[in-house]
Symmetry: C2
Subunit: 413 residues, 2 copies
């Protein structure tokens, strides 16, 4: 028997409790051992809930229980999760988690500590909720040099953009609906400003390239500026707007960013709708592969946490190696050096003058007009560096016929 | 150093040779050991090819080389691959393969033999070419009871159906193009009749449900009867026609089949075009997940074979467990008991009489007319058992107004 303790009985923690109890037969079959929840740490009481029997408010009780070999940390946030994780690993207990803040901030240190103590620190659920990605990356694609990883990494924003596209509603309206349905938090900033996707692409890049990518160095732009006019342009271009986190190897280091992006309806990521997420990987031998599933949600996330528990049980006394070199800090390239192609919306009271100005600066670009909006047009630029494009945008803003620059949305290459 | 021998220097075998040589640094990093091709078995000569240095025509030479710990079997077919694999495993060498015929026919016996000898028999490449699926199933979804697995499992047929849809060409025309481009074999039966997809869904079902599914018990129908008229109906229904292999748990056992299927453009499998393949999995906790990639192709398939080599190196002296119980034979349900919904095309010189007959037999169904074909219409049935539907089809064929039954295409539920 392997005893498990769960830290935090919120959405993910109670999901882990449910998965272990519901699928106990499956878990025994797949891990070769009986897996049992021995303790659940939470400061709240849950009167009438069966969890009461194993509830504790004292972490020391868990730490000092020799029957507990694995800890599922489902507290979220950096502290006290960080301290608890360090102490558990140091005591020779494996830790599994869905905590992306902690993994993005202290993952390498915790993996090192796990290795020193002959146990594992596993976090499949932290990068894609219920989307299996860590094992595909570190085992199934072990023969590949990963060239690029990208994806739709946040369910809240994908739900909002899908609804804006399908129902023609504004960002604010859909956000309100999403909050009522529980798909968005009361304070939605972490999702809609792209911070959640940023932490995930940082972890994914670290796993893909084997070096630690600091999320603070990744250019991040959310979806709050996307309007129904942008959606109209996307339809005209046979594209969809998705919040994309992407990371690839470039001559200047790892080129990573999070931003709304126009992707063609031919691209497999375009069929990823609602709260679903997907991760796209390009290997030098395997070519393009994609992994699709629920990016969040209680049971899918808990399923990923418990799969890590099963793997830790299978590797009792060993460290599961997931191919992220703890000691090497990746060089994240300056966003200005990245190649980009974009749609730029330009207000104008004199289209002819404006277009002349634009051709002067941007060269031969594609112009797009929208029937429903007659005081502006859009251009599709050629590919150039972000730095050069920013300069050109600044330049045209002062030129004849050109009014406000209403939005700039990157296009998937 | 781990020495590898490759059996067969055809498409996959030479791909394995290329991947090991091109990505040697990556392989050493990920496996923790240097991996080197020591011998390649082929009866042909390859004058001028660097492989000459390691070429042999004598399997005994490989078997008796103590430096060779892992054998990549890339011969295809049952014999002599089966005999060679058994002898290698018995000698304590791990075997990895892309050979779906052999795995579908003798996989359980070979896995058992591997376990007895403390080595591994791995076959990621046999089920989805370059699509990682075995590790996601057996590790990432270890906390789930798998309820259903389905997918687009054959690149040749998906290419043909995609081209028929996009270019309005006939099956025969596109097949000829595909043969010229090397996407279809000179004898295309194994692909277009669904046999290849059948073996793959048999292996996937065995992995998903942990019991051996005999491919000979799976109802299999290919795409040779699909015409451009069927494609026109699919467009009218906002669907696509795909060759789908599917398998799910039902009260009568495992309900599996391979057949062309109308799937909605909203379904993520609908964005899987050309030679790409994808596998869809439904777990009782993780919900829906999907895995997408190149279903075939030299380097993607070889990448999967070499990833298995890396895993065997990581687990030297151990058996990698992939969760397929060797001893239990699955009960495959009679296709007649499966639930099905279908589009049926009916020729008629008297629509009114025919529709009356159909409503009498099928009840309230949806009728679909096509502008380009005025001597027929189609119906969308309600869901019922295959057995009952077959009886009804037979019955209406004799009734007033009903002419030839031109096709029956199942619809994804």
């Amino acid at each position: 028997m392997t005893g498990v303790a769960i830290l935090g009985f919120g959405t993910v923690g109670s999901g882990v409790y449910d998965v272990i109890n519901t699928n106990s037969g499956v878990l025994e079959l797949k891990s070769g051992d009986k897996i049992e929840v021995k303790k659940v740490l939470d400061l709240r009481d849950f009167p009438g809930n069966p969890v009461e029997k194993v509830l504790t408010k004292d972490f020391e009780e868990i730490l000092n229980d020799p029957d507990i070999g694995i800890i599922a940390e489902a507290m979220g946030g950096v502290e006290p999760a960080f301290t608890f994780t360090k102490r558990a690993l140091a005591m020779g207990k494996s830790v599994v988690t869905s905590n992306k803040e902690l993994v993005a901030k202290h993952g390498p240190e915790l993996m090192k500590l796990a290795r020193t103590n002959g146990v594992s620190y596993l976090f499949e659920a932290s990068v894609g909720g219920g989307i299996p990605i860590i094992r595909p990356l570190c085992v199934s694609l072990a023969a590949d040099e990963i060239l690029e990883i990208s994806g739709i990494l946040n369910g809240t924003t994908n739900y909002i953009l899908t609804k804006m596209t399908e129902e023609g509603k504004s960002f604010d309206e859909v956000l309100k609906d999403a909050q009522q349905l529980g798909y968005a938090e009361a304070n939605p900033a972490a999702d809609v400003e792209g911070h959640d996707a940023c932490r995930k692409i940082a972890i994914l890049s670290s796993l893909a390239f084997g070096e630690t990518v600091n999320y603070e160095h990744i250019y991040t732009e959310g979806i709050t500026k996307i309007t129904h006019i942008d959606i109209e342009y996307s339809k005209k271009l046979n594209c969809l707007i998705k919040l994309i986190g992407s990371s690839k190897k470039s001559k200047n280091g790892i080129s990573a960013k999070v931003s709304p992006c126009l992707i063609s309806k031919e691209h497999p990521l375009s069929a990823v709708n609602g709260v679903y997420n997907a991760i796209f990987v390009k290997g030098n031998m395997s070519g393009n592969t994609m992994y699709y599933g629920s990016g969040a949600g209680k049971l899918p996330t808990a399923s990923a946490v418990v799969a890590d528990i099963v793997d830790a049980v299978r590797h009792k006394g060993l460290t599961v190696n997931i191919g992220w070199d703890c000691d090497v800090q990746a060089c994240v390239a300056d966003i200005k050096e990245a190649d980009v192609k974009a749609m730029i919306r330009i207000a104008s009271d004199n289209f002819e003058a404006a277009k002349k100005s634009i051709i002067e600066v941007f060269g031969d670009v594609q112009f797009v007009d929208l029937d429903v909006q007659d005081d502006e047009f859009a251009i599709i630029t050629n590919e150039e560096t972000e730095g050069s494009m920013a300069e050109k945008v600044e330049k045209i803003a002062t030129m004849s016929g050109v009014g406000e620059i209403r939005n700039l949305i990157r296009m998937e290459a």
